[in-house]
């Protein structure tokens, strides 16, 4: 499942049953358009930076109060690599990734785990090539699918994993 496919499922999904803890997967909406930094207006920056941050905070709070024990947030690897003409994506994506770490530290004693899955920018950005190479190396794997990883992070089996970012992009960003 790519970042774009994840965007087509409900913004947050919560499931819980006798065998699995309640879980939430959050795939924030980032501004997909390439924008030279010096041309970005205050309005564009406000939407690009504030909206995903506020949305994710609200979603995480809702998950906490609803009793979710597994929270997984999906971001582009642009969070870690930065991106030419995509500072307005990298900033909130990395801000979200740090929310994951901080929430993991705060909520661990409640039995809540919080992790991030980082996917290829291809699933988030309209013109990802403009961002510049994520790595000088080509992809190590021909295809990627984060479904099994997300399922693991939503399961009881991942109860000792928290605050982590796991990259599923075919081995581009290492």
């Amino acid at each position: 499942m790519t970042g774009r496919e994840l965007a087509e499922v409900p913004f947050a999904c919560m499931r819980g049953d006798a065998t699995r803890p309640a879980w939430v997967v959050i795939r924030p909406e980032f501004d997909p358009c390439a924008r030279p930094f010096h041309t970005i207006t205050d309005e564009q920056w406000g939407v690009a930076w504030e909206t995903p941050m506020r949305d994710v905070i609200a979603q995480m709070q809702a998950a906490f109060h609803a009793g979710a024990r597994r929270i997984v947030i999906v971001v582009p690897t642009t969070a870690m690599s930065g991106g030419s003409r995509f500072a307005h994506v990298a900033a909130p994506a990395e801000g979200v990734r740090l929310l994951v770490k901080s929430a993991a530290r705060q909520w661990g004693h409640h039995g809540i785990t919080v992790n991030a899955v980082a996917l290829s920018p291809d699933g988030f950005l309209d013109e990802p090539d403009l961002a510049g190479p994520t790595s000088l190396a080509p992809a190590a794997l021909p295809t990627t699918d984060a479904s099994a990883l997300i399922e693991f992070l939503c399961s009881d089996a991942s109860g000792d994993v928290t605050g982590q970012t796991i990259v599923v992009d075919g081995g581009v960003w290492m």
Partner: protein
């Protein structure tokens, strides 16, 4: 003796105290014309006067980094006065108050932190951009972030996020502006700022805890330790360093 920044012009936001003051003093000591950009003249003016008294070049310009117009006036006046801007250091920040992510007070804390750290970086970088382009290989953007922006924090989670966003901005602008010769980097300091010193006075055990976890066994000095890293990044010596975060904390964080 000539300085490493002779003839360069630098703006340092939040330079009325703490880390910003230390950076301003260090850059000025190496010959830079420094603009002490402070929200309140009563803090910025004494720093600028002290730099001048020590033989340096400095003026204070009242600047609120949370307001675009204020940042643009600061940059405009700097360039009108000195004819150029080579180094933009955005350090100013307010609002790091402990909170829990699940509480409704988060919104109130978010506004102050987002405005000064992230919107402030946005305004400073945009306003400085044409002048950094003109400065070419001497153009420097330096954002002051925090080790918390790398490792997260159980006490101040939103602070960690806005500081992380600054790191991502620096990486992005390193990529985007590199062909002009401009470098964009971050410093993540742990230093004896007034806020930290005040916290030590309220809680002496905090100093002991920080010193105990720090391999170098002490808290950083705003000028000698942190200002010197800013000087390196601002100087020609760092012309091939961009998109990086230099964690300057005595070695307490080793996970980058």
């Amino acid at each position: 003796m000539s300085g490493r920044l002779d003839g360069r012009v630098a703006i340092v936001t939040g330079a009325g105290q703490g880390v910003g003051e230390g950076i301003a003093r260090r850059l000025a000591a190496e010959g830079a014309h420094v603009v002490v950009a402070a929200r309140r003249a009563e803090t910025g003016e004494p720093v600028a006067a002290s730099i001048v008294a020590a033989g340096g070049s400095a003026v204070c310009i009242e600047t609120d980094v949370a307001e675009r117009a204020s940042v643009e006036v600061c940059v405009r006046d700097t360039v009108e006065c000195h004819g150029a801007l080579h180094v933009m250091v955005h350090n100013a920040f307010t609002g790091a108050i402990g909170h829990r992510l699940e509480d409704t007070v988060v919104e109130r804390h978010w506004e102050a932190m987002s405005r000064t750290a992230v919107w402030g970086s946005f305004y400073c970088a945009q306003a400085a951009y044409p002048h950094l382009v003109a400065a070419g290989a001497q153009g420097r953007l330096i954002l002051v972030t925090s080790p918390s922006g790398v490792e997260g924090s159980a006490n101040i989670p939103l602070y960690s996020s806005v500081k992380a966003a600054q790191r991502a901005m620096a990486k992005s602008l390193a990529r985007e502006w590199g062909h002009h010769g401009i470098t964009a980097n971050c410093i993540a300091p742990v230093a004896g700022s007034p806020a930290l010193v005040s916290a030590f006075e309220r809680n002496p055990a905090l100093r002991e805890a920080i010193e105990a976890r720090t391999p170098l066994g002490r808290v950083g000095h705003i000028t000698d330790d942190i200002g010197s890293v800013a000087l390196f990044l601002a100087s020609d010596d760092a012309g091939y360093v961009t998109g990086q975060t230099i964690v300057c904390d005595g070695g307490s964080f080793l996970g980058l």
